[in-house]
Subunit: 444 residues, 2 copies
């Protein structure tokens, strides 16, 4: 009889790298294996074909009058390069130092497999699940879930649910159960600044021709005040302010002090809008960041060129209340207003996604908190995340349900990098958490 | 009997590309050929070996009581890539549309060969040269003349002269004789701005960590006022102001109006320090230019990275009065003073060279003006150049002599590019100009 860990290892051995066409068959084999797991639990299970990799959907028989939870996860994984940096082979999982090492351990096989095992144990002990459960495990999360939204739209009725559970985020620190209830949104812009018709000699022409690199720098500099506050007119207008309980809680979150963030990032001092801790900046305040900029000669030594053009890429992280299209337009308007003399500008509007936010004190949020508290033995911390998970917002818009983000990955889990790992403790307590969650949600 | 043009063609057929080790023998063969030309004129001629390519030095027998002119030039040329853009082969010179097409035509074989022919004709007609003439034709100008300064220092007495003549610059427009009397200097800096210890995810960490690309942009933006005037404290302190006659003359120089410079550069509007024409900016005012800047992701699409560092390269063009070391330090001090919070900076001081300036109304300048006027049939314009020619300043410092810049290259001569050309008119009138110059200088 294989143990829970043996079965997770089976899951982890599939090299289900969704972005790599050489692994198409491995991805499908992993989906088929997962389907087998659900079938063995007695769930109605289907492999849904898409133009890309298949989705696995499993559900118990409808129990009238009980709520429905949809559990989302993904069985595809990131590539493993550079392979030489792995201490053990990425697809030959093993346990060392209390951690499960292997690609997909944390992102996301280990994290969704706890829910499969939690449901399985509930069925084994109780005879059936205490509420309606739909598992939706996709195979394209690491390539941007291109076929998920169409699938959701086609199956709105089949996937109707009251609440969604997702374990695909992080725990703030070991043994500190963490409920995420917010994510930042995003909007991107790319800017090209053009001056003379070709690169010029900076001696022959320097001084009488506007330099696009200087102009681009002036435009970037105009975006913030010296203290880090964003200078774009109206940028903060719709931002929903932090609530007092959030500031009080976040001040106590282990692993989220300014000192912690300075240690993690290697940044010399805290930075940003005055009046906010680093955690508050990350989780509840919007940004305008330069993701890239370039112009002229960047190689070794010097080349006395006055470049014909320069570029920069911006992304704004957005918080609840902000409309991505409106912010994108505000930034564009600001850049055009601050266009220096002597250059022209082309602004390309990139992709956008809304911020996501739910109430962790709702009945569902309280159920999640109770499940986390019982399984981990302490009250959970309630946090938001700085990043963006577009799927969460998509599911909110299409299915109308909020997502409980029950993160189990530790800060040193190395997702998307060599030596990805998942704590054995979190695997085991995660299974308990899932069982408790089903129990708590069934009471609603 | 080969014509003057036939002989220039012989000179142009040598592929004397100094930077390309495959052409070492061609460079030497060209030097030997040049030595043969001088010997045939009856001049004492030597090929001076250097650690690189040889120098050709030729002189007449010392005439007591007469001034000495040193005529500088270079027989090496730039590479010819991309070859496919040449309308005729670079080393198979030909005449089309009144121009001599071929690599080295303008830069610099055509321009120094007029002086050789001018001296030759003078000897043929007068029996001897009317003053002391030293030809110094080097083979490493296109690679930065690495062995010229040591050679000058070793031969200070041999090369002692009253004045230097150099035809290696431009004429402002066809048929407009041009005497150059100033060059800008240069000082370079390279700046690296560092923030977090590695690239960060702009969602996970954006907002609480100073972005080095933003910081670099703010530093660049601090260097100028919005109108283009340089904001570095003390930057203009030592600048020698333009004289009234210069502003009056430059306003009349053909090919040097704001409209001309806008057409040449493709820049939409004039730019720079208020109160100066584009010609005045270029020829008599200092600059701070970004030659290159970079940071983060510059490829296609978006990558939501908060870069660990960013860089920029600056060059300042300097004018008479400014000390390169002082300016370099002023810029460094300014950048350190304007360093944004949350980042560190490394500043590397690059190469420097002083501006050069002489009095075009000196007895030598007047001789040059007379020679240009007689040969081209109109009064010359007196200009400075925006670029830097370090050799001119080196010769001033080592030999103590000023340089008359008797430029014969037209604005469309395509030096350093495919389809380099030299106007037949300038070749012919250049020979006359050289003869007149020897005559005028001999009267001093």
């Amino acid at each position: 009889m294989p143990t829970d860990l043996d079965r997770l290892f089976e899951h982890l051995r599939f090299p289900s790298i969704s972005t790599d066409s050489r692994h198409v068959a491995d991805v499908r084999a992993n989906a088929e294996w997962l389907k087998g797991q659900f079938l063995a639990m007695g769930l109605q299970t289907e492999l849904h074909e898409t133009p890309g990799h298949p989705l696995v959907v499993a559900r118990n028989e409808q129990i009238a009058g009980r709520p429905t939870v949809l559990i989302y996860g993904h069985y595809d994984v990131q590539p493993v390069d550079p392979l030489e940096l792995w201490e053990s082979a990425p697809f030959e999982p093993e346990v060392r130092d209390g951690k499960i090492w292997g690609r997909g351990g944390a992102d996301n096989k280990g994290q969704h497999f706890v829910h499969l095992l939690g449901a399985e144990k509930t069925i084994q002990e109780e005879g059936q699940l205490p509420l309606n459960v739909i598992f939706l495990i996709e195979g394209e999360e690491e390539i941007g879930s291109p076929n998920l939204v169409p699938f959701l739209k086609e199956h709105v009725d089949d996937l109707a649910c009251d609440i969604i559970a997702v374990s695909d985020t992080g725990m703030v620190a070991p043994s500190v159960p963490t409920l995420g209830y917010g994510l930042r949104g995003i909007t991107c812009l790319e800017v090209t600044v053009k001056g003379p018709s070709g690169d010029l000699h900076s001696g022959v022409y320097g001084g009488c021709v506007a330099n696009p690199a200087t102009a681009a720098a002036r435009m970037i500099a105009s975006l913030h005040h010296a203290d880090g506050k964003i200078a774009v007119e109206g940028f903060y207008d719709d931002v929903i302010a932090l609530e007092d309980w959030e500031r009080e809680m976040w001040a106590q979150v282990p692993g989220a002090t300014n000192q912690d963030f300075l240690a993690t990032t290697g940044s010399p001092v805290p930075f940003g809008e005055p009046g906010y801790s680093m955690a508050e900046q990350l989780w509840a305040r919007p940004t305008v960041e330069v993701n890239g900029m370039g112009g002229g000669y960047q190689g070794e030594g010097s080349k006395t060129v006055l470049p014909a053009e320069a570029m920069f890429k911006l992304s704004c992280r957005l918080v609840p209340g902000q409309d991505p299209d409106k912010v994108q337009q505000q930034v564009e308007d600001h850049l055009r207003k601050h266009l220096p003399t002597g250059v022209t500008v082309e602004i390309y509007k990139g992709h956008s996604g809304k911020a996501y936010h739910n109430d962790p004190h709702s009945i569902y949020g309280k159920a999640a908190q109770a499940a986390l508290a019982k399984s981990f033995g302490r009250e959970p911390v309630l946090i938001r995340e700085g990043g963006s998970i577009p799927i969460i917002q998509d599911m909110k818009e299409i299915l109308g349900a909020d997502s409980l983000m029950l993160g189990l990955a530790l800060p040193d889990c190395q997702i998307h990098a060599p030596n990805e790992n998942f704590a054995v403790e979190n695997f085991e307590k995660g299974i308990e958490m899932s069982r408790e969650l089903l129990k708590e949600l069934s009471k609603i």
